[in-house]
Symmetry: C2
Subunit: 604 residues, 2 copies
């Protein structure tokens, strides 16, 4: 009788959620901790799960429950989705999609393998990565490397619609996950190293019709900026702000790509994301602030209209893309409840903003090694309010072309790159996978040719300890961060950059992966390592968790690659190859080889 | 004091074993169950371990302890070696070798990656497999796909010597593991589908100088057969027996390759192995018994001289290569202690012979589906003594060219292929991974061109149930076999052919892998499944076990491929592609994708 009642109520719930589908099906799905329906876990990008069967007491007993090889090698970023009893898994190029039946030992329900012209591979800057799938309206969305966005029937894998979002012949590629917010599919574009002018595009979830496209630079009609209403640090930006900090037509090949993670606040109906580096990497060639590269954006979901912008690194001289995720956490700051947006930027500063209006609340270094700027000017009255105070010695622009600016911290890949952090509401802290790497940076003159590299700098990266002179040689830390005060709460040293996304749970745990291949679980409060397991290959995927058949699972893709692992992934050996990353991670080859395997953990 | 004594005695032991190295270092090593020093476990190919920390009581608690991606996809056959605290691991083409430090979480001590001309790949008949490494005299031996045998310093991975054993331009390749017996390295040759005349070659372990080479066919000087002393079923074979059952020069492109496992009896100083199919697969084109294809061989280790031969399938009409391992088990038969050699042939008969003289003791079907022959004639007085009694209906020769002979059991890939069985001295039984597959076979005329396929038959394979009419559709069984009586003791159905090698332990367990990717442990006595785990990809590797730091480990390579998995491995789709195997295993794609991962299991 009890059972009958239970299944009846499940039925009602199912009906309700179907009824709500037109309103916002995903909002319901993401509240069910058993599923993992978004590549970011939820709209807010918290990457937090209320599941707690696995907890600080028993996590030491965790063990792999099953594994699945994707059949593809090279860098496996992102995480699978779990919708009901089906897991959806993606791969790097050629971007295969698998639907696995969790009720039948992971049997393959369907497989989708796009036919893509392999000529896209050489125009991918940082390995053949793909950051995952999105779900909505009974469809699975995949943004192929060649920029084709496809909608697949989630039940059968059959193509429902597809649309071309860009052109690899012009250096445009796709690596970001599509993001479904309500009734729209949002996709970005990559190619900042090829002079691609970034944009974010919203497609109708039903048929793939373009609803709007907002560029990172260009006239207001392109950027969807309202000169009077769109604000930057509280002030209207004025007319054609996406043009007037560029020389001539340079904005047309100006970068500001959008290959990271997006978040969404359904109450404000605003989406949040960051734009990437201005092109070229040689700052001498592009005087001005280069707006709106290196910028956090808040746009209206339905119209794309920009509500506010905040440029983190005006006139970038170090490749500090602002594409890292914007985490929408509600926090009490100075006694007041604030709807915050928290962002760990490549430039080494962690920003806490009021997400309703873009007000800057906190901006502090989250790696003590950061040296290119002393601080962000927090004086609202100052003419440089909100701007980082650049240290002349580390200005590659001041030092000029063909001069090697040495010992800049962080390196171009930032104190953190695309690997997403997570927020735990119980501790009120952020759990951040970080890089502890510095660089030498030598800009040189370069000319633009469509589809050709437009980089204009030679880099060499090395452990931050070499600049700090503290005899350390680790290139990563896993940290807990208080975004209310801008302080590191604890920091765990990692031999290599932590290039994996994290998840935290109500079980008091943070999970992350390491470049050598360990899946680790640490205590949220202390950072104490409670569990580790060596997965087949280096981890650059994002850990996720779900429940099936009454059991909590933790899953992660291993498969070394990405920018940090590009030496292994692309078989490069010279230390300044791979945009300067190869030398710094050369010793990874002593620990791991290429792979592509999902490992799913559970308690025995 | 106790400890001191212990380490002193270990020291003495070490000295003794070093002292014995010149005599036979490997004989000592293989008796230490902690190590796995031979690709076959021991000289006798028992694949038996005295380790019993993992046993029938606790095996249900087994879990992966660590994993390692090899960085290569496609079929992963063979098993790693463990010598001391180092694990040596190989991959399919391009045949990378890793030395992993078991004292340091599997850290890569060295990596050897040969540069091979990839044009060897199209002349490999049945995937890019490699069956493993051998160890001896401080060196690791690898037989590269391109037939280069290399000796690597086991400590550094540096090349010590190398020698070319064949020529891929003529269709000659290497897939078998090298075998070190005492002071010699033995290697075979593959290419029976390219008209390669098979041979086995012994090289000096010190410097790679060729000591002897014995061909499968040709004049006595080539076959190392003594017309008066070498016997076949007790009788001298007579002059040029490797020529006179062939028409004209056909023996020169006659096949009989040697790509399987070899065993060695140090007391008799005899090595044992089988030769493969006669070329072409069209029997009409090569009248005669085609000696010594499809033959078990006993040769003197030092001279290569053949002591005895036994042709299992004279004048093959079905591709029943005799290359499967010869297991040297001592058994009591009819009250007498016999030094037996047990062989599960592709043709579906399991043979028990006296290995001292080649006397045939038992020959029985180990899959009831076998229908191409009624039995092996066991009447010593009969003119057909020792010959299988072929059923006319299934004779592809009698039915002739361009006629499709239907429903032959087993299929060309045999009731068992290269996947090695094991012998457990406690139960006195053999544990055999088997295929349960039949075929249609249509021979056609073909002409020989060096380096080109010389197959001459179109095949299509399907589950044996279709011929038996018993409504089953499984294509595999894992069986326990009594070689004294020639009877199946128990048989576990498997959905797919069991293409993985097995190991049994003093813990009462048999381990094997499945094509979908499960590592399984079953009770030796009953066949009851006690544990299974889904590894990343389909398993065609051989399970092995070792002990390190007081803990027993079980390890297996996953990575689907081989002949059964050729559809997945080579991306073939038509059912009669892959020499007829593709259709029969097409549904494998519902369970697994390509991979290449070592999974190492232990108790928690
Ligand atoms: O400017 C761009 O368009 C662009 C694209 C990508 C990408 O698509 O992966 C990366 C970067 N930049 C980049 O700067 C960067 O650090 C980076 C790291 C990674 C990665 O996956 O590990 N991709 C990218
Ligand atoms: O005749 C030959 O030389 C030859 C070679 C090989 C090989 O080298 O793998 C196989 C076969 N034949 C063969 O008949 C066969 O069934 C087979 C299976 C496999 C495998 O690895 O799964 N190899 C081979």
């Amino acid at each position: 009788m009890h059972k009958l009642l239970l299944s009846a109520s499940v039925g009602v719930f199912a009906l309700l959620s179907f009824g709500a589908a037109h309103a916002d099906e995903l909002l319901t799905l993401q509240k069910d901790a058993k599923q993992w329906a978004l590549p970011t876990g939820d709209y807010a990008n918290l990457r937090y799960s209320t599941l707690k069967q696995i907890n600080t007491e028993n996590v030491g007993k965790l063990a792999p429950a099953w594994t699945f090889s994707t059949g593809v090698l090279r860098g496996h970023e992102g995480a699978p989705l779990v919708i009901g009893s089906v897991m959806y898994l993606h791969t790097p190029f050629p971007n295969i999609v698998y639907a696995l039946d969790l009720n039948d030992n992971g049997k393959i329900l369907w497989k989708y393998e796009p036919k893509q012209d392999p000529s896209v591979v050489p125009v991918m800057c940082c390995d053949t990565v793909n950051r995952g799938l999105a779900y909505g309206d009974g469809k699975i969305f995949l943004a192929q490397a060649d920029t084709t966005l496809v909608a697949l029937d989630a039940k059968t894998g059959k193509l429902v619609w597809s649309v071309k979002n860009g052109d690899p012949a012009k250096g445009q590629t796709s690596t970001a996950a599509p993001h479904v917010f309500k009734d729209k599919v949002l996709v970005g574009i990559a190619g900042g190293e090829f002079g691609v002018r970034g944009h974010i595009t919203a497609y109708d979830i039903k048929d793939g019709k373009q609803v709007w496209r907002g560029y990172s630079m260009g006239p207001d009609a392109d950027t969807l900026i309202d000169p009077d209403k769109t604000t930057h640090l509280g002030k209207p930006v004025g007319k054609d702000s996406g043009i007037n900090t560029w020389e001539g037509d340079q904005w047309q090949t100006g970068g500001g790509t959008t290959w990271g993670w997006y978040s969404y606040d359904p109450e404000l109906n605003l989406i949040y994301y960051g734009s990437g580096n201005p092109s070229t990497w040689n700052p001498k060639q592009r005087p001005g602030d280069n707006r709106w590269s290196m910028t956090l954006w808040a746009r209206d979901l339905d119209t794309g209209k920009a509500k506010w912008v905040y440029q983190l690194t005006p006139h970038d001289e170090w490749d500090y893309d602002a594409i890292n995720e914007v985490i929408l956490a509600d926090q009490k700051i100075g006694g007041a409840d604030r709807k915050t947006a928290v962002h760990f930027d490549r430039n080494g500063f962690a920003y806490t903003l009021d997400r309703t209006n873009g007000e800057l609340l906190v901006a502090e270094k989250y790696d003590p090694a950061v040296n290119w700027a002393t601080k962000v000017d927090m004086d609202k009255a100052s003419p440089t309010y909100g701007r980082p105070q650049v240290v002349a010695k580390y200005s590659t622009d001041k030092n000029g072309e063909d001069t090697n600016t040495q010992g800049v911290c962080p390196a171009a890949l930032g104190s953190k790159d695309e690997q997403p952090a997570s927020f735990n509401p119980e501790t009120g802290l952020f759990y951040v996978p970080t890089n502890h790497v510095c660089m030498d940076y030598e800009p040189f003159r370069v000319s633009y040719t469509a589809g050709q590299p437009y980089v204009g700098a030679t880099l060499e990266m090395f452990p931050a300890g070499r600049v700090l002179g503290d005899k350390t040689d680790n290139t990563g830390n896993f940290i807990a961060w208080d975004a209310r005060t801008g302080k590191i709460v604890w920091s765990d040293k990692e031999q290599f950059s932590v290039w994996s996304g994290t998840v935290t749970t109500a079980g008091g745990l943070a999970f992350y992966g390491t470049l050598e291949g360990y899946l680790k679980a640490v205590d949220l409060k202390t950072g104490k390592e409670l569990y580790k397991f060596k997965t087949p290959s280096g981890i650059i995927g994002n850990v996720m968790t779900y429940e099936h058949g009454g059991k909590q699972y933790v899953a992660v893709l291993s498969g070394v690659g990405g920018w940090a692992g590009i030496g292994l992934a692309a078989g490069l050996a010279k230390s300044n190859e791979g945009l300067g990353a190869v030398g710094n991670y050369a010793s990874l080859a002593n620990y791991t080889a290429l792979g592509g395997v999902l490992t799913v953990f559970a308690l025995p």
